[in-house]
């Protein structure tokens, strides 16, 4: 980020340079009648509160419990996901990729930050940053180990670089011991990271099979 020095003029002289710059642009565009600040609020509210990984978890739980839905997801993920009303920007062309004991899927956008917004919300900073973007296509096993995920040697890793408008949702394997669980209960085991591929779904006994180095609550990352 830029230096802390500000230029000392006007009411915004307590702001960081980037804050002043953003505020200036919003002022200009609003004065020209080109943007509606309330639209900005609505967009932010959508991605803060309405759309998030709970959507993807619902897709996964449905796939685990309904073989016809899983088949639909494999054949036409956009339509299957749309049937749950998860549609729109950065999810127009969905692909579901299914983990198996033999193959683990991981998603990245090496070129920028492409991510399936309607099912996962906005991406975390690590997903959009050079370390993950550059290293997960080279050494995913080492990167997943940083997330606390150690896969058996016999499991191969498939990395999907989202270079076009196709957006990838990883369907993690269903944990053992969940045979009679409801979809809602199953969805609670599905972390955001398990749908990117940097984690796996949690076990029913509450242990996360993969946690971030300073483990958060199951269900958040």
């Amino acid at each position: 980020m830029g230096s802390d020095h500000d230029h000392g003029h006007g009411p915004d002289n307590h702001l960081q340079p980037i804050e002043a710059r953003v505020r200036a642009l919003e002022t200009i565009l609003t004065e020209k009648g080109l943007i509606d600040p309330a639209a900005i609020d609505a967009i932010v509210d959508t991605y803060q509160n309405e759309v998030g990984p709970r959507n993807g978890a619902a897709v996964v739980a449905r796939a685990w419990t309904d073989p016809d839905f899983a088949a639909w997801l494999a054949d036409d993920a956009t339509a299957a996901i749309a049937s749950l009303d998860f549609v729109g920007r950065q999810g127009e062309h969905m692909q579901a990729v299914f983990n198996t004991p033999d193959e683990h899927n991981v998603v990245v956008c090496t070129l920028c930050s492409c991510y399936p917004w309607p099912v996962l919300g906005l991406p975390p900073v690590w997903y959009k940053s050079p370390p993950y973007r550059s290293r997960v296509v080279i050494e995913p096993r080492a990167v997943l180990a940083e997330f606390g995920l150690e896969l058996p040697e016999s499991t191969s890793i498939r990395v999907w670089d989202s270079t076009a408008e196709l957006r990838y949702l990883v369907i993690p394997t269903r944990p053992q011991g969940t045979d009679d669980w409801s979809e809602d209960e199953l969805a609670s085991l599905v972390s955001r990271d398990s749908m990117i591929g940097t984690g796996v779904a949690a076990d029913p006994d509450g242990t996360e099979a993969a946690a971030t180095p300073t483990a958060g609550t199951p269900g958040t990352p």
Partner: protein, 209 residues
Amino acid sequence: MGFGPVDPEPNEPYFHADWEERVLGMTLCAAALGHWSLDESRHARENRHPADYYSSSYYEIWQKGLERLLIRHDVVSNEELAAGHSLRPGPESAQVLTADRVPRTLSRGGPVDRPATTKARFETGDQVRTKVINPQTHTRLPRYARGKLGVVDKIHGCHVYPDRNAHGGGEQPQWLYTVRFDGRELWGDDAEAGLSVSIDAWEPYLEPA
């Protein structure tokens, strides 16, 4: 090695400052004016000195890209950015995204599939080699995947072609393929065992192997 540890932030918030929220919303609202495509906006963000790119936070890059697009399309002037105020009125008619239309706009999205007008050159299972290219202009063929031997995994129909669309060349839809590479093809014999990487490649990126 390289860029170092991934270092995820526990319980990370979606935004780390209010200004990041405004940049996200402003970028989407400004794009709705219809002056540029998503492809052009990506290029506007990314086409900068590496030192600038790597020293900027994610939303700083969005802000810089947005300023560049607005100047380029004569929506805003450098004088206005310096002044922090509009110095001339906006155009009489502009397609402004109002708050009430946000839900419909977000849920409609921007699909990029287009009707096919040509036959696909490749089939699933075909061996292909990605071309060696080094354009000064926008491309979605990553440098690590140029001149590499892979296999067509899936065909996705015709999609808007960013390499042309980003520069006002029109959509020029091309057949889109998922192409899969063995890790050793990309990184040599020391690649992690069992690794494969795929990209989504438009037909002009590929030649028969």
